[in-house]
Symmetry: C2
Subunit: 333 residues, 2 copies
């Protein structure tokens, strides 16, 4: 578990796209984002107060989160100097970078000297159990997609926000690096050893109040041949009571697989539900989340209406409309 | 790749069940089993020539394979002394034990000193790629089960033997520890990192002659909530042209999951085929393999006839009958 709140390190980000992790934290957990730390030449701005390490510490920040992708995949000398200063100033560090903080001897030495923690959220910090399939109390919903990167994390975060707005009990359960940094905890599922994948999701979504919903972040797709095993483990480890189908309607081929076309929403519904019922016989598909970013508003409205009619389920774009109707569908279960 | 042939180390096996890895090697690759090495008190006997290290070396053995489960999960001082002697005598070592050879400093030192290799087949020795889903030449068949431990490895090995008997080109492709020790190579799929599971199976079953069949060892079951992600990765990474369904008809609940009943063969056929067609639109279910060890011969015959009629596919117990009819079904594709 990463200590919150955070100071968000934007480094020398070349553009706004490079700080999307920090943007996600600011959007979804603004209470965790005390301020931003930018270096000379930083081209991104989250609109948070620019702070020195000392100012952020004074304001209560506990962890410096690397909210920016690094150029060339290495931690530069400039960054390293700031990170060492942060450890000295009493911050933990958290990072989702491919190259790990723990592989930087200077950072390891400084963390040890000052008693601070280095969180590399790309790799598991827990020895997960093998899944036992035992029915857990509380409710769970999982976002499943026609493809990777169609908006499953966004849908889950928006649904969690909509649930809380309605006064319902829910927890967003992160299964990827960005989600883990946003919430401060979760399972980096793509880095878990095969035998323990489903068990890691059982661990992530333990027994809870009967009226509490875990909103589980989806990964991959049952129809994406590179990552379908990860999706399968989410469906069986999560033993969801409800599924939400996610789709990006302008996508022609599967992400990274130019020879593969996308399945239909009906294809995903049928096979995901069949498999979900193995772990939870009562599982239902309750709604559709469409990423309409590449459609005009009129096109989006028409597409959503058509899907809603065709599948007989509420269909929304949570970015344009929020996820209130999906939350209502869960509450009605 | 483990150097063959082997001297099979049976240690101080308390009974025959403890040497089932060695038995598998002797049964399926007798040409790899030069002899057996037994310690005082060994209660198992494979019927191979008992050999000293020197005799086995003389007879051509290259690797000492630990073909026995160790008691208490530790490598005893007695074992260690023999293993060090083997390294000195010029043998590599291979093991599927949970506790790793590479974690034994004495073995590491001796291996280094004598230029020998330590093969821990439980953990991957390769950095596998992420699956790319590109169609490969050659043919592939995968055994998929209603449950774990219903005879998928046995079926695949028997099918490989039946193919070779008919003069057809085939390779057994191991995906578990025992299979890897039998053949000297393979992917320990349950120990692969989630993101690389399907890619490891693509790596295991590369382009081949158009009339060559990879016989891929199955793992888990799409209906086993602990391991279904592993099965899913086999289906998509293997992009099989043919599936063989495996079942143990007296099993009441899923292995290790007392709350879960077994799916029907039809259930497995339908969902496995739907998912297999994502990676290979021409995939077909071509046969059924039934493990009838808990049935009398008359019961087995009646059950096989019933299944064959019900599913309209050849149904055999490869242990009782061999896998010739499954090989014919592949050849007919």
């Amino acid at each position: 578990m990463i200590k919150t709140p955070y100071l968000l390190f934007l480094g020398d980000a070349p553009d706004h796209l490079a700080v999307k992790v920090a943007q996600g934290i600011k959007d979804w957990r603004p209470e965790n984002a005390v301020g931003q730390l930018r270096l000379d030449g930083c081209k991104a701005d989250l609109g948070l107060t620019d702070m020195t390490l000392a100012q952020a510490k004074e304001a209560g920040a506990q962890t410096l989160v690397i909210g920016v992708a690094n150029r060339g995949g290495t931690i530069s000398a400039t960054w390293r100097a700031v990170l060492v200063d942060a450890l000295e100033a009493g911050f933990d560090l958290a990072s989702g970078l491919h190259n790990l903080l723990r592989n930087e001897p200077e950072l390891v030495a400084a963390a040890e000297k000052h008693g601070r923690s280095l969180h590399d959220v790309r790799i598991p910090s827990v020895q997960y159990p093998i899944a036992n399939g035992v029915k857990r109390s509380g409710k769970r919903v999982l976002a499943v997609g026609t493809d990777c990167s169609v908006g499953k994390m966004y849908t889950a975060l928006a649904l969690d926000a909509a649930m809380k707005e309605k006064g319902l009990k829910s927890s967003f359960r992160a299964t990827g690096q960005t989600g883990i940094l946003i919430t401060g905890e979760g399972v980096p599922l793509d880095a878990v050893i095969a035998d323990f994948m489903a068990g890691s999701i059982e661990y992530l979504t333990p027994d809870n109040d009967d009226d509490h919903w875990d909103i589980i972040e989806g990964q991959g797709s049952l129809f994406h041949v590179s990552y379908s095993g990860v999706t399968m483990a989410l469906i069986h480890g999560g033993q969801p009571d409800a599924l939400i189908l996610c789709h990006e309607p302008t996508r022609k081929t599967m992400r990274g697989l130019p020879d593969y076309t996308l399945p239909t929403l009906e294809d995903v519904r049928d096979v995901a539900l069949t498999l979900a019922k193995v772990a939870n016989a009562g599982c239902q598909v309750v709604g559709i989340s469409i990423n309409t970013q590449h459609l005009s508003e009129a096109e989006a409205d028409a597409y959503l209406a058509e899907v809603e009619q065709r599948l007989g389920l509420p269909a929304v774009d949570p970015f344009r409309q929020g996820a209130a109707r999906l939350a209502e569908a869960l509450a009605a279960l």
